[in-house]
């Protein structure tokens, strides 16, 4: 019997195909400019979350108290003007993600993945070389300290050593003890991220969010943040003894969001139970919630120019 064999040419072709197309021994390439998609986080990415809209965020009593003490005037303080947002903000902020890798020139291995900065957001370096996280007492930077590893085609990023910063733009905060685990998955030209954020000081449960970006070579993005120089923006703040804030129970805007949407204050001011489906029943049975007759603010942000609607808090159709 003649034993059938495959020729060197056929075998080489198969091996060639294997080598050029196989993901088996490769890492997924995440590099590129990824534009943030405006399909969710509607008001948060548009006009910004209303004061005291803490819905769906697992804050504890301390987190709520700090959020209600917030005055946006604090951002005018010279010492706050150059304060960056937290790396957590990448998951909801309107920023593009500018991702690139640094490679060891000898081994060819990727040493780090980098997520670019913005004018108010620091660069995040995700170390891939197995280095340990530093001591808990080490310096906390605006980008935190991040390490990454692959689980299949998912890049898992663990971030510690973040500075205190804002959890949401309306004044909710996270402490410098917060930690974050992010899961990045690429599907073609889409990049999806699940963010798992823990804070023993201001959260009662993990804060879990998902986000998506689309590859866009024209996305507006930076790799590093430009230098920031604080200036006096307000005469009132020339008196440095003034620290803009509201004392407990004195925030005049604390009930506005609840009034806008007919919500009980317990819903508007968040907490872990507001994340789960059973909270709907509580709204219906305990609070007898009825939606407003019609939308009067932040109703729409479609890019279709033929659509005229209320796009902000002005109650004006445009």
């Amino acid at each position: 019997m003649i034993k059938r064999v495959y020729s060197l040419r056929g075998g080489a072709l198969l091996l060639g195909l294997l080598l050029i197309s196989s993901p088996v021994f490769a890492q997924v390439d995440l590099s590129g400019l990824w534009g943030f998609l405006r399909g969710q986080y509607g008001q948060e990415n548009g006009g910004g979350s209303d004061i005291a809209d803490f819905t769906g965020i697992p804050i504890n009593a301390e987190g709520r108290a700090v959020g209600l003490s917030y005055s946006a005037g604090s951002l005018s303080e010279p010492e706050r003007q150059c304060q960056y947002y937290s790396p957590r903000y990448a998951s909801t902020g309107p920023f593009a993600l500018n991702i690139w890798s640094d490679t060891d020139q000898v081994t060819g291995k990727i040493i780090s993945w980098n997520m670019g900065a913005w004018i108010d957001k620091d660069i995040v370096t995700v170390w891939m070389d197995g280095r340990p996280h530093p001591s808990a007492n080490a310096f906390h930077g605006y980008g935190g300290f991040a390490t990454g590893s692959w689980e299949g085609d998912t890049l898992v990023i663990k971030t510690t050593h973040m500075k205190w910063s804002y959890l949401r733009i309306n004044g909710l905060q996270h402490s410098d003890m917060a930690t974050m685990t992010q899961y990045l998955v690429r599907h073609g030209d889409l990049l999806s991220m699940l963010t798992y954020f823990e804070d023993p000081v201001y959260l009662s449960e993990p804060f879990v969010l998902t986000s998506v970006w689309q590859l866009n070579p024209k996305a507006n993005s930076l790799r590093t943040s430009p230098a920031c120089e604080p200036i006096d923006e307000s005469d009132r703040l020339e008196n440095t003894s003034i620290v803009p804030h509201y004392l407990p129970g004195k925030n005049p805007y604390a009930n506005d969001y609840a009034k806008y949407y007919n919500l009980p204050i317990e819903a508007a001011q968040g907490g872990a139970e507001t994340m789960y489906p059973e909270f709907r029943k509580k709204l219906k049975d305990q609070y007898h919630y009825v939606p407003p007759d019609k939308c009067i603010r932040y109703c729409c942000d479609t890019q279709d120019p033929s659509v005229k609607c209320i796009r902000d808090g002005s109650n004006r159709v445009r």
């Binding site: 060197l8 294997l18 998609l37 889409l190 993990p206 998902t210 489906p277």
Partner: protein, 252 residues
């Protein structure tokens, strides 16, 4: 240098086919259940944080924030009349496949058979069937959950000895032939021409709890100005203790 047939069959074709064949190695192709790189079965609960007022509660009439709605879609949304839907027996219009994963629901996921993954919701008591392999749509009238064709997208390994290492991968689902309905409870419409592509990824959080991340693309030439791309997440639950079947409602 020559390769025997046995060598090619055992060592080269499986690797090459893993990269090049969309449904895996043609010969002796395992069922979708056997080939599953991850296990989505069990009970899951959605976590509603972004767009809370559009997802957790019935939004006000005329609230289409974050939806790339067209003028035609806006006209329909502005004419939303839940009483009319109730009178016509259309209380489930906001529970169709394009809306379902964004709703405040729990999921119960099981294998209906070796090539069909069943996704049930307690919110609206809906059932999605995700068909793998060479499934052919039966035809007939469009349904709220439409026709869903699913496939595993296998992840690459991270070195030799992959047979011993955990498997990874995603679930891709394409859904068409959906009965026209609402993307949101307040009448924001989708048409019969909507096409939905989903990617489901499963991760374990630092406490070892499963989390499903759903990335959803909606294309609707009639009511969406551009492709609407959103994400949702679900947390694994240990049992059915909080499973609470609730019928469709046109208002709440």
């Amino acid at each position: 240098m020559m390769f025997s047939k046995t060598f090619v069959a055992r060592w080269i074709l499986p690797f090459a086919c893993g990269c090049l064949c969309p449904h895996g190695f043609a010969q002796n192709q395992p069922s979708a259940k056997a080939a599953a790189p991850v296990d989505f079965t069990g009970y899951w609960v959605t976590i509603i944080t972004p767009d809370w007022r559009e997802r957790m509660i019935t939004p006000a009439k005329g609230d289409y924030l974050a939806v790339p709605i067209t003028l035609a879609g806006q006209k329909i949304a502005d004419a939303w009349d839940p009483a009319k839907d109730e009178a016509e027996g259309l209380q489930c219009k906001a529970y169709g496949a394009p809306a379902l994963m964004s709703t405040p629901t729990r999921l119960h996921i099981t294998w209906q058979d070796d090539n069909t993954l069943k996704v049930e919701t307690d919110y609206g008591m809906q059932t999605r069937l995700l068909h793998f392999g060479n499934w052919k749509a039966p035809g007939g009238a469009a349904t709220w959950q439409g026709d869903s064709v699913a496939a595993w997208e296998m992840a690459g390994g991270r070195g030799r000895g992959a047979a011993e290492s955990p498997r990874f991968g995603s679930l891709k689902i394409v859904t068409t032939r959906v009965r026209p309905g609402y993307l949101r409870k307040n009448g924001v419409p989708y048409s019969a021409n909507v096409r939905m592509t989903e990617y489901w990824d499963l991760v374990k959080d630092p406490k070892g709890v499963g989390r499903i991340m759903v990335t959803q693309q909606l294309e609707d030439p009639e009511f969406l100005f551009r492709t609407w791309i959103v994400t949702f997440n679900f947390m694994q639950e240990p049992n059915a203790a909080k499973w609470d079947p609730t019928p469709c409602s046109a208002r709440w």
